[in-house]
Symmetry: C2
Subunit: 643 residues, 2 copies
Amino acid sequence: MPCFSCWKLDTQPIVRPMVFRKDTRTMLSRKELFKDTLKKAAHAWKRIVELRLTGPEDAQHKPQAFSTIYLFYVGGSKLAEAGMFVPAIKGQGTEEQQKKWLPMAYKFQIIGCYAQTELGHGSNVQGLETTATFDPSTDEFVMHSPTLTSSKWWPGGLGKASTHAVVYARLITEGKDYGIHGFIVQLRSLDDHSPLPGITLGDIGGKFGSGAYNSMDNGVLRFDHVRIPRDQMLMRLSQVTREGKYVHSDVPKQLLYGTMVYVRQTIVADASKALSRAVCIAVRYSAIRKQFGSQAGGPETQVLNYKTQQSRLFPLLASAYAYRFVGQWLKWLYTDVTQKLEAKDYSTLPEAHACTAGLKSVTTSATADAIEECRKLCGGHGYLNSSGLPELFAVYVPACTYEGDNVVLLLQVARFLMKTVAQVATGKQPVGTIAYMGNIQHLMQCKSAVNTAEDWLNPAAIKEVFEARALRMAVNCAQNISKVPSQEEGFSELSPDLLEAAVAHVQLIIVTKFIEKLQEDIPGPGVKEQLQKLCSIYALHLLHKHLGDFLSTGCVTARQGALANEQLGKLYAQVRPNAVALVDAFDYTDHYLGSVLGRYDGDVYPALYEEAWKDPLNETVVPDGYQEHLRPLLKQQLKLSRL
Amino acid sequence: MPCFSCWKLDTQPIVRPMVFRKDTRTMLSRKELFKDTLKKAAHAWKRIVELRLTGPEDAQHKPQAFSTIYLFYVGGSKLAEAGMFVPAIKGQGTEEQQKKWLPMAYKFQIIGCYAQTELGHGSNVQGLETTATFDPSTDEFVMHSPTLTSSKWWPGGLGKASTHAVVYARLITEGKDYGIHGFIVQLRSLDDHSPLPGITLGDIGGKFGSGAYNSMDNGVLRFDHVRIPRDQMLMRLSQVTREGKYVHSDVPKQLLYGTMVYVRQTIVADASKALSRAVCIAVRYSAIRKQFGSQAGGPETQVLNYKTQQSRLFPLLASAYAYRFVGQWLKWLYTDVTQKLEAKDYSTLPEAHACTAGLKSVTTSATADAIEECRKLCGGHGYLNSSGLPELFAVYVPACTYEGDNVVLLLQVARFLMKTVAQVATGKQPVGTIAYMGNIQHLMQCKSAVNTAEDWLNPAAIKEVFEARALRMAVNCAQNISKVPSQEEGFSELSPDLLEAAVAHVQLIIVTKFIEKLQEDIPGPGVKEQLQKLCSIYALHLLHKHLGDFLSTGCVTARQGALANEQLGKLYAQVRPNAVALVDAFDYTDHYLGSVLGRYDGDVYPALYEEAWKDPLNETVVPDGYQEHLRPLLKQQLKLSRL
């Protein structure tokens, strides 16, 4: 089986045609970059066909193969939106619609995007302005953009590549607005790719970074009374009849949650991937880079040996592992949710939704910050594109905003927490990741029994204080909200505190899943011990970082906090000898990492030097502009105007 | 007087030739961008000459005029290194050398850069490898790059523009290595700009962002036995005689500190400027952007009204003001240090050094994070280059690394703190920003008397807990270090804690200077009241963020911490009505801000829409690459190879 993350076959030698080269991507102009991306995508698809990954015998790999196209599209990251055309039709289309549209999409006879957000409307889907008005005289919907702010804005792949889109618009029939629904709309001619009449299409302009998402044609779309057949409304959940009647189907709305859990699970997995790439680069380079500490002209000290470097870097290494394990667990959760949905058991959905929303928010925010921290940990050279880190950051950060803004998602988690606190008071037993709240009697009163630094290595000791902290913060918020006359107003007033309570809850989930993972068998001698150290680092660095939470909720004393910090220092020293092995274990190829600082062979300086000369500015020794601007300045011959 | 930050004359109309347009900079290729920058720099200099800002009568504006060139160089930020050619000669050159070189530099007859860092050596100047070996037979120094890692790497302006450099190298004479010294070296012919024999010059390649520092030719330089006259060694502090004897002059080394204080003061002022730009954009856009909260189809709520938005944004607004005031105070400190140096009074130097190092570190780190937070606070649109925020971030972040890596600087502050703690124990009275440590008896034992949320509005209550926290953290570190047999080892072991103690000390300085500023007269009705609220927000958000410090050192109780948080919420509500006025007060022109989201007129959406069409990708409706790659894919005509 080919590995999609590094594009090599399990059997050597590595097959890597030049078409996939990445090293010059940041030097291309926007047009060149986009063209290069189309080339990569087409070639990737060609390879997928050649390797016969599209046949029915390979059904389980299909989504993976499909997303590989998008992988090249944005140079290392997957685009959620562009990848959501198919899931939208799968989730919201009737069987007939799926049969008609999906095969074309799978074969790239059409290219679809997911057109939801508008210029004036992002997270709040209910605020969208685009209209789809049913005209019974022709059995068509009329798609229209009534205002400037209703222009579709951001959908990936919309600007230049897509031929079709799932467009979300207000469904209006019989004079009544039935709210937001999805419609399949053809945007461009399949003959010559020109936009169809009434449709305005364009790219929304340059984005963060030199390459990054600039290889993606996030687009703008406007409709001027564009007509589509009625049967292009996605009709699984509700329909408009030939006469224009709006009717609900008997398919429960909850089925849509499955897709959401799936998408968010992939985002958490991606967080682990992006973070581990950054950490791999920073750890390897910190082992190569030497600075200060020379005694009498001897060699300088490896940067990785400095406690300050370790205390910033090792928690990120631990986080990369933590997110990987919680991501694996989310895969299980998705299977579980899917099975329950099929059995029409919706009981665990709110918990699964809160859990995935929270994990998406916490892991993406932390990963974005961590990539930038890794860049800083590489000193000046981390600022060079050849380090790979600027692009990794620029391509990653949108994850904090797309698929639910991270703050909006945390507030959803907080709502769920408040609901659960209220239910626990009535004696209802919470399930899943929130089950600990059932232990309210103990958790509201317990005090950590930790007495030595080593006591913090006990997973039970960690779990107890993380549970107590999360629960007490939630209960605190609930109590403070109840003091405000209106519940809604109280929630809004307390929202900054609610965000913190939600984060505490999600961090507990991650810590718990890490601990649970280590209760399984882990193959390889000594591997489990190393992972246990990382687990402790992950938990204790959070305890140290959020010490205010633990102290103010009274589950930990100042002395115990100091012991945790002391233990953290010891753990750093223990992880140091295996740090490079722990990032080598991610098994990333140099091609995939795309970083001269993170090279497996550690031969960083010649690579940096060599890479520099590729810059277009080095095509000539004397720069373009010397004759016109620099020489007159130096020769004091700038022509001055009379004032 | 023209204003250099916005390039307009005080008298209307605004004179802004098209040469200074910035809106398309992120769309240019590297070569175009660099050429455009040369054009801007040459034109800026032409205007400076025309406006007669170079004459002796304008001496006080000279450094400002000079730095304006560099301002255009990197599109909004000043480059410390490129700007340090002149200060280096001023500080380390003899009077004769200054007389010879400075007038040429001032007139741009030569362009100089500051070549210190090497491929393998950054912060540790003593580790540099470039050699300058004196040859008494010709009365010359031989400049040489003995290894790959000794290549000069990073100096701004070195790659393409500079004709000269101050090069730092190991001085070797009579077979002995006398360590690092500065040398003025001509790099390029003044006739045709080609590199002189034995000199290799190039650009080090692309950097973070689309425009940002890519307009700057950070360079690489290698010497192959290049000879320069002996009198081009900077000889103010030490000389090499005609015979090759190394002699120290009687000029005290401390004089160099003046330059360092000056440079760091400008960096703190720049932090305030960059932060206030980002905050201005985010506040204005948050007042325009609406989302959620609509009741029955009514308008949505301004994002700025959400408590979560306020709790993230207003502390940054307060920080922008805090940094501005501490920056102003640093200007005074620079004058004070200069006067004392002239009077040969070096007593306050260690304190001034620690204080400027710490402020540089804390303000730049916080500003880099804050710009990115402001970008996130603008939602998806903040990711567009037209928001101005990606470039502002990319151009700003190097400030965390250059002029002393922020972690290295904090460790210097920590060393000073440990020294002061030891001295206080012997009864010595500390001065300046560390004077509070003299109050050790009280500060080690005091407990905050705060009893209501409003009590936290009292500056004395704030100052007391910030002093107690900083002192106790420093004393804690000192005690823990003393438990380790070797002092040096103890310092290294405890360095992560020492960083935190240093941050606590620096935050106290910023809080104190804000409070002191408000004891002065502030013109304008109601202005002082608004600033007082911002001062409280600045201090209390730090207290909340670092609650663990305050609780674990015992100067604040959990209840008092909760009261601080409660007061913070009230302050946000009070600042909300004036938030837009408080950013308008920065008085930035739209041209200077360079952000469609931060427009003064708030007409954001038409501007976003219009800006999109400028992208080169929109030059054609059907993208380049359609015929070659997209059409064959869609038409199922990709030619498959036989496997």
